[in-house]
Symmetry: C2
Subunit: 346 residues, 2 copies
DNA sequence: TTGTATGCGTTATCAC
DNA sequence: GTGATAACGCATACAA
């Protein structure tokens, strides 16, 4: 009796490729081809297989496939924090684009910590992912080594460093700092301060500061940087900064915050202290978080291409896997634009 | 020469368990135990193995392990949308708790579509995940069938339906509707309206509405439900609702919005139209999105336990896998609380 | 505590 | 276009 299923140790009675093959009266490899290169299977058998697959509710075991091919249909992504209002869009765009092509997203967060990133990358590599997507170009030495040896596409997002080897999708944080300073200068502000992020590992924010510093010097203005206490929650950090700067002399007439959370904290603190925004002091953020347009006054900010980064990263991954046709020529660098969103606070 | 590596077809020259075993002069299974049950390996060999692992930079192949054990250290999660301000916290809590115990997160979004959820579940099952986490109890028949046959823990989050079999972690949306109506009634409002979500698949929001309806009838008040156009972006849907309701007669003196995005849209539209909030009309949201406290007037809302849901879901998963000790007795239901956050808009 | 034999479900290789 | 066979790298079962 071919019905007699031998008692297996583990996946007892599970429907496998062989079950389907037997029932459709073809070989296992033909069923495999039915899923991976359907055009190589004759239409007649295709139908037979399709019927059996539907009847048995067969789901291909991607783990076995991954082991056999040493390349799983899975892509690892490490992001500083999942719930952050900007990165969430990147994840969304990335995940959706991937899954539309049969790839799955393996996700972990690093909280701006190189160690956490390293352990995430290590864990991901154990799944022999088809590709890896990281954030920024700041990694531990061990991470650098792993990705160099992994022999899979690695993409760095939210950053742009021409001299680096990995494919990059993002923008220059230094240029954002430059653009912020120039924009405020163009509006007539002259005592422009910069408030750093309170998260210690956010090196990209420091690059924005550096762009600001260089630009102010270039313009012959005196830069003024305020650093909130490390690890202070962003709203409070913004408040702390605003209070400190408003009591300083000379008092700034415009403040660039490292991100919108800080800016919102600063904005509210300023209003509470009776400071008119933007008349007494302009406020500029970064991120264009959803609430930016809902504040009173609404928050001027610099909008990073968060969703585009995710979508483009997925496209580049799929391209380098041969799943998607390559757009134009192969581009090693993918520089996107940040836009200044002018609202009421400047 | 034992150095002579035979040319392999696929993972040519890759460092495997056997490479480590040979170099450490132990058997492969001992190295396997070193990773999975270290306490069963003698300290002396542990050291030897550790040294070789570090030297070779060996990373266990989780794909092979998953195939052999028919249970990967991976957990699938389907969430309506990743970038939504509330679900993001659930993902964050879930992912972090999992990864702290060596499990990885496989993530997909459904956009409130049962079909997309189904295809995500199907793809996940191919990875033989250790567990599956879904949102709400609304699934397609095929999904129900798959999770019933999968023989792995399945947890439903953001919901609570006592009669259902799967483990649930969440709260009763009906009760949220009840609480919202009772709260406003308690504050003296009598013409209380409800604005539905514009996303058609958000059935949980409809349950909140049902709770509202039941309560208003119970209180002897006349309910009034407004449904914005389907798929209209939330801010605009809120605006549409507010404008429609303010021109209605009798005009409501309080509005419950299906979520904070709608509420924010309504709030701004109301102010623009010269309506004083909460004097002319109170506004209550749901979600406690980050911007809620930053609006002017700040938005009263109902705060769901987003982060806790994620953390608790991960804990329950790990418990049922035997990774974590079970808290107290095994609980099939995990009912969490939503709190009314009273701010200026009510 | 440690080791041997075997199989997990698929795909690469090569032959037809 | 189709199939037989041998890996892929690890963990289970059982023995020592």
């Amino acid at each position: 009796m071919s019905e007699e299923k031998p008692r297996k140790r583990r996946g007892a009675g599970r429907v496998t490729l062989n079950t389907v093959a037997r029932q459709a009266e073809v070989s296992a490899i033909t069923v495999s081809r039915y899923f991976n290169q359907p055009e190589q299977v004759s239409p007649e058998r295709r139908e037979r297989i399709a019927a059996v697959v539907a009847e048995l509710g067969y789901v291909p075991n991607l783990v076995a496939g991954g082991l056999a091919s040493a390349r799983g249909k899975i892509v690892g992504m490490v992001i500083p924090n999942i719930s952050g209002p900007i990165f969430a869009n990147t994840i969304q765009g990335f995940s959706d684009t991937l899954s539309r092509h049969g790839y799955q997203l393996l996700l972990a967060s690093s909280y701006f910590s190189a160690e956490q990133e390293e352990s995430a990358v290590r864990a991901f590599l154990g799944w022999s992912p088809a590709a890896l997507v990281l954030t920024s170009h700041f990694h531990s030495a061990a991470t650098e080594k792993m990705i160099a040896e992994a022999d899979i596409p690695v993409i760095e997002t939210w950053d742009y460093q021409p001299e680096r080897e990995p494919l990059q999708i993002g923008f220059s944080h230094i240029e954002v700092g430059v653009a912020a300073a120039r924009y405020l200068h163009g509006k007539g502000y002259r005592r422009i301060a910069f408030v750093q992020n309170s998260a210690p590992g956010d090196f990209s924010a420091l690059e924005r500061r550096d762009g600001y510093l260089a630009t102010l010097r270039e313009l012959g203005l005196k830069p003024r940087v305020f650093a909130p206490d490390a690890d202070r929650p962003p709203f409070e950090a913004g408040k702390q900064a605003m209070e400190a700067l408003m009591n300083a002399s000379p008092r700034p007439d415009a403040i660039i915050f490292a991100n919108d959370n800080l800016a919102a904290g600063g904005l509210l603190a300023g209003q509470r202290a009776g400071i008119k925004i933007p008349e007494d002091c302009a406020v500029l953020g970064f991120g264009d978080y959803p609430f930016a347009e809902m504040l009173l006054p609404s928050l001027s900010t610099i909008k990073p291409p968060a969703l585009e980064i995710g979508v483009l990263a997925a496209k580049r991954v799929l391209e380098s896997l041969g799943v998607l046709a390559v757009e134009n020529e192969v581009q090693r660098l993918n520089l996107l634009e940040c836009r200044v969103i002018e609202r009421e606070s400047t």
